[in-house]
Every structure is written in structure tokens, then in C-alpha cells.
Amino acid sequence: MASEEENRESRQIDWSVLSGSYVSRRTLLKLMALASAAGITAACAPNAAPTAAPPTSAPATNIAPTAAAAATAAPTQAAPSGAPKAGGTVRIINSGGGTNPIIDNEVLIWSIFDALVQQDINADIHPGLAERWDVTPDGTVFTFFLRNDAKWTDGQAIDADDVIFTFNKVMDPDVQAWGRRWFGTVLDKWEALDKYTVKFTMKQPAAPLLDHFAEQRIAPEHIMGKLSAKELNEGDLRRNAPVSSGPFKFVQLVPDTVVITQRNDSYYMPRGSNDYRYVPWIKQLEFHFWGDPNVNLLKMETGERDAHVLTMTRPEHDRLAQNPNINIQVFPVGIYNYIYMNNENLLFSDKRVRQAIAYAIDKKTIVDTVLGPIGQVQDSFLDPADWAYKPDVKKYEFDPAKAKQLLAEAGWTAGSDGVLTKDGARFEFEAWAQPQNEVAEPIQSYLKDVGIVMKIRPIDWPAIVDELAKPNFVAAEQNDGYEAYPDRRHRWHSSNVPPKGVNVARYKNPELDKILDEAWATTDRAKLKELYWKMQDILVEDLPWVPIFYPLMVQATSKRLNGTEPGALYFVQTACKWWVSDATDPEKA
């Protein structure tokens, strides 16, 4: 029937709307363009796009070489207004981590559990659960004398049983104990001499282990004693800590949202008994899940969060720095950035080549242009905040001519396309770098100038961890560190070459081995400093990796939060000293 055809026609979609006769397409497009332009202008108004904010004249990085003097870096810091007051809640942006001190070891654990000894922000060791300790001068026997008044939050005494239990599990290969990484190869025996004395015997001199004793929190034997390895690894106590020993106690974990902890009023070290760890002033400490970085900035601006502390990107730093309600501190804390190289690879086995790479790169320009206030040129293998840092080491100033000369000496000649060749092989390699790595590309272009082709392969953190462990590892551009102490045996001793250890560079130097071994057998700080200075000179001369810059820790805190100290590697290390200016009535606190 005729109507069917008519129907079909009328059913067709009327495309003429776009080029319609009533409002012409041109007008429509003009309208849309206007609308989007208006939208974009509004969005690009100052402060509108968090990550697009242009770098302001950020506070100059007069980073002092010592941790204590690092406070001069921030002109926006307000002087604490008055004396500390008890009470109040502090909300920090940090997921906190798990709650089992044997398995987990992050900021939450450090706040709610205690270790045998405590480290302050200068890496000095102080009494913790042990009121005193004894280390033989060669570092083979550690004896800890526990206090007899330390109690768990449920009232039970903390004694040698808990310590023995903790280390039983640390050394148990079925338990995913983080501590086994450090204690596993050296701890021989651990025994309770009496109710409050524990003796650790090492298989070899292990003086630096004291730093790790300061990290290994003690777990409650009466709560966890009966659990199997599987239950410890994945049981409920990974998300729940009903019994703890630290200045804060676990209250509640809201999954993917926050961990709430509160002051432990019966903490065994009262206020005034020392100046590094005691009953805190604040009433409640909340660890808020990390979430999106841009949203974190906004939450700092609304005042919903009191602290945002990490090695943040430059736009993040700049945006927080220009906010009058936020205090910013920037300081080095034992984080590094290197070009990782496998020294056994034919490309990198010649020291002159590695030195040439260092000369070829203009670190100062990279730091000034790309990183600005959040980075500092790195020449050495320890950082300025470390007590064993040697300020005057050999520097590889930007000198492409010298680089080319060294490469020529090592047998590399430029091919027709400018790329260096030797025995038919081109100087071409692939370096892994995380996607957010901003210095990899400038490095690539500097290397290109001297005839080295570095290809960048972006892969994310979980993948890099795996790749670094592979036997065919070549190179990477990657951070390293978060070390609070100068011991570097795991990275540079020849016995720690993969797969046994993490000497990823496969660096083997008998002279350095001797120094590292000696350092492990020395507890005298003056002697250690001498040894570590020698270590730095050797590493800087041999350059198994090329140091580029120190990522600086940016500590952004709200104005109401007082008592924070710059230089703390782990921000909550000083949580006991914090207080808030709007604290409530101390009686009710």
C-alpha cells in the first residue's frame, strides 16, 4: 500500500536538523564555539585547574645540608602560637597500611605499636620498649633490657615472650614478615635470658641492624600466639588491632576511607619523660585513604585535611605553596634518583662510559627547569640529611666534550648517523621509567647529544619491581631509597648480586666490600663516619649508577597543626609532639 512507503520515508531520521533551514549550521557552530570558549575561560581562571597552575615564584630551595637546619627552607611557616594544648583531631592524607606489626610496616604501625628502641629524626637511637641495650663492639650480640612497666592496651605486660614470639614469626619463612628482609640472613639465635631480657646473636657482625630493631614493632603474643602463618598473613588482624602498645591506639578502620586512632592515655612513656615519644597531645589521629592527587590538594585547601606529606609533583607543590592557610616545608630525606645500570652489560661495564654519561647530563638545568623546588641536584650516594653524608665529593659538572672524550677512550666512535658504535654494536639501550618520571626525557636528549640512544619504556611501579629483579635487566631511570641510615650493603656489596640480593647494578668492588664489611662490624659512630665517607668517594668515582637528583619531601600542613618537625623521614615520627591551635578543653580531651 502506498502508505507503507510514505511511512518509511517519514520514519527516516531527519538529518536536516544539523544543516536545517531554521537555524543555519554556521550559527549553531558559532553558538557551540562561544559556549565552549566561555567554559574553558572559566575553567582556566586562576586556581580553577589544580594541575594547570603555572609555577609561581616558589620559595627558594635554600636547602641546608643538615636536617636540623632545613626549617629555613619555608618562608610561609607560621611560628607556633603559644604552648601545646591537649585535645583535637588531626587528619592526615595517608592510607596508613595494615595493622599487623609482623607483616606490615607503615605509618599506621609506627603510631600504634612500639619497637625495642626508637629512632628520632636524626636517626639517633633512644629507649623504647627496652630501657637500655648492649651491643658488642663488633656488632654480633645485641642484648635488650626491657622495661618492666610497659603494657599492652588491654593491660597485659609487654615482656620477653612478646619479643621472642615476634622474632619467631619474623624468621618463619611461611610468614610474610617484612622484617625477614633485614634479619633473615644474619639473625642466628634469639633467646629470653629472663622475663625482661632478650639476647640476639648474629651469624656475622651486623652493627647496622640496630636501625632495623628500631623499625621492627613487637606483636602481642597473647593475642597472636595461636595463629597459623596463613592466619597471620591474611587474617582479621591485618585490618584490626584490638591490642597495641604505641602512643596511639587503633579505634576503627572504615575500608577504603579512613583508619581512626586515638591517644593511648596509658602509654608507658608519659609526657615530659623524653622529647621524642610520649603520650601525645592530640586526641585523635586519622589516616585518610590516599585517593586522587588533585582531590587531595582540594581537601587541603578546604581545611578538611591537616597534612599532606610526600614527594609530590611540582604543580602540586606550587598550588599548596601559594595558599596562605598552608605551611610548606621542603627537605631531603634519603630518597634518591639514579640512572640504574647493569654493570655487567657490555654497554656499561667500562667505568669511563658511566662517567661519560654523568658528564653528558646537565643535572643543574634539569633540576632548575623541570623540578624547581621539589628536587635538588644529587652528586653523591647518600643524602644531605644523613649523618654520614660527605659534602665534598667529586662532581661531574656538565661537560659534553669531556663525555665524548671518555667515550672515545673507551673505544666508542660515532657512526654515520651520530650514534656511537663499537665492534659493530650501537650504543642503544632501553631504560624503564615510570610514566610520571619527568627527568627521563631530558636525560634522553642529553645522551643523544653525545651519541647515546636511550629509549624510554614507561611501565608502572608493580611492573618495575618485577623487571628490576630479572636477570636480563639493562637500565632504568628510577627513584631509590627512603633510607634513614647510611648502610648501603644491600645495594653495593658483591655478595648481594641478584637473585640473592638487590645489588641490581651487579657492582663488584673488593675494596668497597671490605669497607662495608668493616662498617657492619663497627658500632662507633666516628669510625663509621670515616668508613661511609670512603664508601661515598669510591661510589662516586666508580659510578655504578649515575645519580641525578634528590626528590625532596614536601610537607604541607594546615595552619592549625603545630609541632611538626621538618626532616622527619616518616611524617608521623613526630606525632607525639603535634598539637592543634583549636584544641578543645584539655579536661575533656
Partner: protein
């Protein structure tokens, strides 16, 4: 009808199995593994021996098909495994995150319906007019604008500049949970999630409406002398919404995944946010597989709902079937 549903469910099972195999392969073949969870940033660099041990502990050194069958075996016993991050049983994780995600997603869809249908109808009725062009522009805006960016802008404007709405999260933890509090937190994420839906549904309703309005029976209704209002709302509208039912059903299918970005930006404690972290930070395979299973079930449920809904709403289909 019952037979139809059962048949569809039976048909869905091989699809879910196939989806799970493909996803399992992709998750595991991507570089990296849970070793990074134990490296705590960079302070505890894991030795290759340790990493191998960790892989062995999680059974990741077994051949992939064996790992897959082991996972399937677990499902049969009701065990979806435990999160690599902190040992939380995946079933618990899914059940606690599904609620917030469903709340968010349902609210978005309802919001979209409530906005898109009237605007679409009005656009169609007054087509080529100013309203139509404005609506079209806004629709394109909604479809094109990146969710991530508009989410951040929304937080910036409403929570930071004007402080009338909370920034993120589902509840204010300092007060006792209340419906009003949750609703306040729901407004921004639900609206942001709804924007692309509103955009495409408006256009869809509009064109569906235009098509229906030129049908015979509409012409007949007008010829009968009915008021234009009655013609539109009593006759045309209902029929134009039939295809929308299909669209809604299909949206149920993919909204669970597209809500991931919104959940991430707004720190909404739902499945999408967990999915992102489990994949990117942790390589948390049990969580990823569990979430994938749930999302697949939803996708297929969505298309089932679309088909049933369509049959319910359109008698012609029922008769044929």
C-alpha cells in the same frame, strides 16, 4: 516468560565463563605482580629470591590454566580468594562495595531519566527551536566532557569555592550517619555520572519521539481532534519510550565500569574505586577477578532486563514471542 528468563540465564553462563578466561589471561599477562605490595615504596627492595617466594606463595608460578581452574574451584566452594593487600576476603569486599556503587549508579540513572525524558520530548516537540538547540548543545557537552575533569571542577566549585557540598566520600565520619548526610554526599558524584547519560538519553528520546510523532496513529489521533497534549503524552510518549527501555538495560551493563572514575575522583567507597587501586597499585588478582565476575553478571543482567522490559512494554513483541 519464565522459560524465556531461564533460557537467557543459561545462555549467559558460557559468556561469563569466556569473559572470565579472557580477563584472567589479560590480568596475568600484564607485567608486574603483587611483589610491589611488599616493597613498601622503596625502603624494602625485594630480592629476586623473595619475589619468587611471594609468587610461589600466591600460586602465581603455576601454569595459567591451572591457576584459573583453581580460581573456578574456589568459586564452586563459595570462596573467591583473599585480597593480596590485607587479606580481606573478596566476597566481603564485594558485598561491602556493591552497596555504595549501586546507590550511586541507581541515583544517576533515575536522575538521568527524570531530566532526559522531558528535555528530549520537549526538544522533539519544539524541534529546530532555540530550546532544541540549547538542549542539543548541552547534550553534546555532557557526552564529550571528560568525567574526571568535570568531577574535579564540580568539587572545586561546590565544595571549595562555595562550600555548600562536601568534597568526597559517602558519609561525614564526625557525625552519626544519616540519610540527609549521605544524600548531600551523593549529589555531586551522581550528577557527574549522570551527565553523559543525560546527554545521550536526551538525544535518544528526542529522535525516538520524532520518529513516533510521524507515525500513522499519531496522525490519526490528531485527525480525531485530540488536544496536542493528549496526543503527545498519552500516545506518542509511551511508544517513544520503548526503545529507551533497551537503552536503560544496556546502560545497567556498562555503568558499573564507567562509575569507576567518578568513584575514584569522589573517593566513593564503591567497587569501581577498589577496582582501580587493585589493578594499578596492587595487581590484586583475586579482587580483580571477583570484581570482573560481578561486573559481567551485571552486564548480562542488564541486557536481560532490557529484553524483558522491552517485551513487557511492547505487546507486539510478546505476541510474536
Amino acid at each position: 516468560m519464565g522459560q524465556f528468563i531461564i533460557r537467557r540465564i543459561v545462555q549467559a553462563i558460557p559468556v561469563i565463563i569466556m569473559l572470565s578466561i579472557i580477563a584472567f589471561a589479560m590480568f596475568h599477562l600484564a607485567p608486574g605482580g603483587p611483589g610491589a605490595l611488599y616493597s613498601r615504596d622503596l625502603t624494602i627492595p625485594q630480592t629476586p629470591e623473595e619475589l619468587a617466594r611471594i609468587r610461589h606463595l600466591y600460586g602465581l608460578d603455576r601454569p595459567l590454566p591451572i591457576q584459573y581452574m583453581s580460581w573456578v574451584g574456589g568459586i564452586v566452594e563459595g570462596d573467591l580468594g583473599k585480597s593480596y593487600r590485607n587479606g580481606e576476603p573478596v566476597i566481603e569486599l564485594l558485598s561491602r562495595t556493591l552497596g555504595p556503587t549501586l546507590l550511586l549508579v541507581t541515583t544517576s540513572m533515575v536522575l538521568s531519566l527524570v531530566i532526559a525524558v522531558p528535555i528530549g520530548v520537549l526538544s522533539a516537540v519544539k524541534r529546530y527551536g532555540l530550546f532544541d538547540y540549547l538542549a542539543t548543545s548541552i547534550a553534546f557537552f555532557g557526552i564529550s566532557i571528560p568525567t574526571f575533569w568535570i568531577g574535579l571542577m564540580a568539587i572545586l566549585v561546590f565544595a571549595v569555592w562555595f562550600r555548600i557540598l562536601p568534597t568526597t566520600g559517602m558519609q561525614d565520619l564526625t557525625t552519626t550517619p544519616s540519610v540527609v548526610d549521605t544524600l548531600r554526599h551523593l549529589i555531586l558524584p551522581a550528577t557527574v555520572l549522570a551527565l553523559p547519560l543525560i546527554g545521550s538519553w536526551t538525544r535518544f528520546v528526542r529522535s525516538s519521539m520524532l520518529e513516533v510523532m510521524s507515525d500513522d496513529y499519531v496522525r490519526t489521533a490528531r485527525a480525531k481532534g485530540l488536544a496536542e497534549r493528549t496526543v503527545i503524552f498519552r500516545h506518542a510518549l509511551r511508544n517513544s519510550l520503548i526503545p529507551l527501555v533497551t537503552l536503560i538495560g544496556l546502560t545497567i551493563g556498562y555503568i558499573l565500569s564507567s562509575s569507576a572514575i567518578v568513584e575514584y575522583v569522589f573517593a566513593w567507597p564503591g567497587l569501581g574505586q577498589k577496582y582501580i587501586f587493585a589493578a594499578v597499585q596492587d595487581r590484586d588478582y583475586p579482587v580483580l577477578m571477583g570484581a570482573l565476575l560481578l561486573v559481567s553478571v551485571f552486564a548480562l543482567l542488564g541486557s536481560l532486563v532490557a529484553d524483558i522490559g522491552y517485551a513487557l512494554v511492547d505487546p507486539r513483541i510478546r505476541v510474536k514471542d
